[in-house]
Amino acid sequence: MSERISVEIVTKVARLARLDLTPEEIDRTTAQLSGMLEHFADIDALQLDDVEPMAQPYPLDNVFRDDVIVDGLDRDEVLAAAPAAEDGRFRVPPIIGLDV
């Protein structure tokens, strides 16, 4: 089967998806995505130029509601579920200052 997607592209996609895949996972994913894209070529023959894309099924748009003030989620309860919190905020490892 001709490869429809390369290891290089899969490596780049994994980076975009924030997934640290192992080299074995990259190889396996490349083969599996190739097989799927081969199957997905069945829609290539369809004449779709005049077809409007459909992003969601029910034609609702500009959904408005009254601006009623209600309680939000309890902050302590929300932070209790976080891997790390400090001073009422989510705590994360350094974002800047490291050579990344």
Partner: protein, 472 residues
């Protein structure tokens, strides 16, 4: 007693204690749950407390509501405040949501007893419940076979008598296919019929919550409770839904039942035979069989497996080790994202996130995602035309009866083909349901799928009830 309508009527009348109903179901769980593994969590104490409160209401002369004392099993992708909700994923293991899903609130208001959280394919991605981080669920009819998926835990829980009603979510067939494989009724309502607030998102334009039940009437009862507009879900349809319980008594005299003449091949002979007998049953009950064409039906699989992973790759970006769930430590935040997600997601979730990210990425968007959205429109419009000639359509729900564990190997496409008959209704937004209609190979249950137009649940339920009567 396991039918919800009977339980609720008896509990409301004071002739049956909700506490006894709960104990009966907990005993069933004690007996077979070790081999079935339908649940990620059985809520023993909460269920007992709740049942006692319902009995106290009845004793005080108050009405607990239309689901009084009915044990309900919730798929573990529905948020329950303070009760672990995992999506059967390591990345959410131990997470306790700070809020209830709207359906959970509605169940409480209707007097239901939530008895546990059920197993699923991780993040509802799969058709066999083999993709759970906590081990597979087994089919109560034959424990060497899968229950279907992704709502396999809820389907198995109902089939095994662990709960009177299960709730599932259906993105490409995840209620209807396990219902078929476990021999229970399973409904995916019209997109927007039931609020998705608190349903952990897989593919937001396709996801819909619905019931798995022993009878068509119980599904009607459940949808009458959980259906309706919710200010917390702007995609929920702002109309009042007519009672489906009232609709099912009406019969199918004069109803036009459509046969899709160009349905994709691939269903097993036993399944096709049962589907033919379903057409005969509706004809005998007074319906008229008509032929319709849906030529784009066959392209549903491709459109779905581009659109659903694309939406999933976006929805699952939130699992980054910051606000909830698993974090794997790393020197900086960017590195932490990558190692956390690699450790927390299983193979199928990673595969779909990769596929979706690729389909949305610069240079490939038009060729894949953009084209899939056009195919989606094509499928929707063809179904709309078909529903001008037919009130409901009949197809198989699943191409086969329940299959053995490991039968699909590690070929993702083989597993995806399980959804070939259910996917189009998710793309188009139309309702569909699976109704048990006898048995096929090895005496295993076969489900027939009834499809109908937007918000045409009453017709769909009338046809389903007629099939149920014929099957008995």
């Amino acid at each position: 007693m396991s039918d919800a309508l009977e339980i609720a009527a008896a509990v409301r009348a004071g002739s049956l204690k909700a506490a006894d109903v709960v104990e009966q179901h907990l005993a069933a769980i004690d007996g077979r749950e070790p081999e079935i593994h339908a649940f990620n969590l059985v809520m023993v104490e909460q269920a007992r407390e709740r049942a006692a409160a319902i009995d106290a209401m009845v004793a005080a002369g108050n009405d607990p509501g239309p689901l009084a004392g009915v044990p309900v099993a919730l798929k573990d992708n529905m948020c329950t405040r303070g009760v672990p909700t995992t999506c059967s994923s390591k990345i959410l293991d131990g997470w306790k949501p700070p809020y209830d899903a709207t359906i959970v609130t509605k169940l409480a208001d209707a007097g239901a007893v939530v008895i546990g959280k059920t197993n699923l394919d991780e993040f509802a991605m799969g058709s066999s419940t083999e993709n759970s981080a906590f081990g597979p669920t087994r089919n109560p009819h034959d424990t060497s076979r899968v229950p279907g998926g992704s709502s396999g835990g809820s389907a198995a829980a109902v089939a095994a008598g662990f709960a009177s009603i299960g709730l599932g979510s259906d993105t490409g067939g995840s209620i209807r296919q396990p219902a078929a494989l476990c021999g229970v009724v399973g409904v995916k309502p019209t997109y927007g019929y039931v609020s998705r607030y608190g349903l952990i998102a897989f593919a937001s334009s396709l996801d819909q919550i619905g019931p798995l039940t022993n009878t068509v009437a119980d599904s009607a009862l459940m949808l009458d409770v959980i259906g309706g507009h919710d200010p917390m879900d702007s995609t929920s349809i702002p109309v009042a839904h007519p009672s489906l319980l009232d609709a099912i008594g009406e019969g199918v005299e004069g109803m036009r039942v459509g046969r899709i003449t160009d349905l994709p091949e691939g269903a097993d002979p036993d399944v096709l035979e049962r589907t033919e007998l379903a057409f005969d049953a509706l004809r005998d009950a007074g319906a008229k069989i008509v032929d319709v064409e849906v030529p784009a039906f066959t392209f549903g699989l491709t459109a779905y497996y581009l659109i659903a992973p694309a939406e999933a790759s976006s929805n699952l970006a939130r699992y980054d080790g910051v606000r909830y769930g698993l974090r794997v430590e790393a020197p900086d935040t960017n590195a932490m994202y990558g190692v956390t997600r690699a450790a927390g997601f299983g193979d199928e979730v990673k595969r779909r996130v990769m596929l979706g990210t690729y389909a949305l990425s610069a240079g490939y968007y038009d060729a894949y995602y953009g084209k899939a959205l056009k195919v989606r429109r094509l499928i929707h419009d063809e179904f709309e035309r078909a529903y001008q000639h037919a009130d409901v359509l009949l197809t198989p729900a699943s191409p086969s009866v329940a299959f053995p564990f490991g039968a699909k190997g590690d070929n993702p496409l083989a597993m995806y083909l399980c959804d070939v008959y259910t996917i189009p209704a998710n793309l188009s937004g139309h309702p569909g349901m699976s109704v048990p209609f006898g048995t096929g190979a090895d005496g295993l249950p076969v489900g027939v799928q009834v499809l109908a137009g937007t918000l045409c649940e009453p017709q769909m339920f009338r046809a389903a009830a007629a099939l149920e009567r014929a099957a008995r």
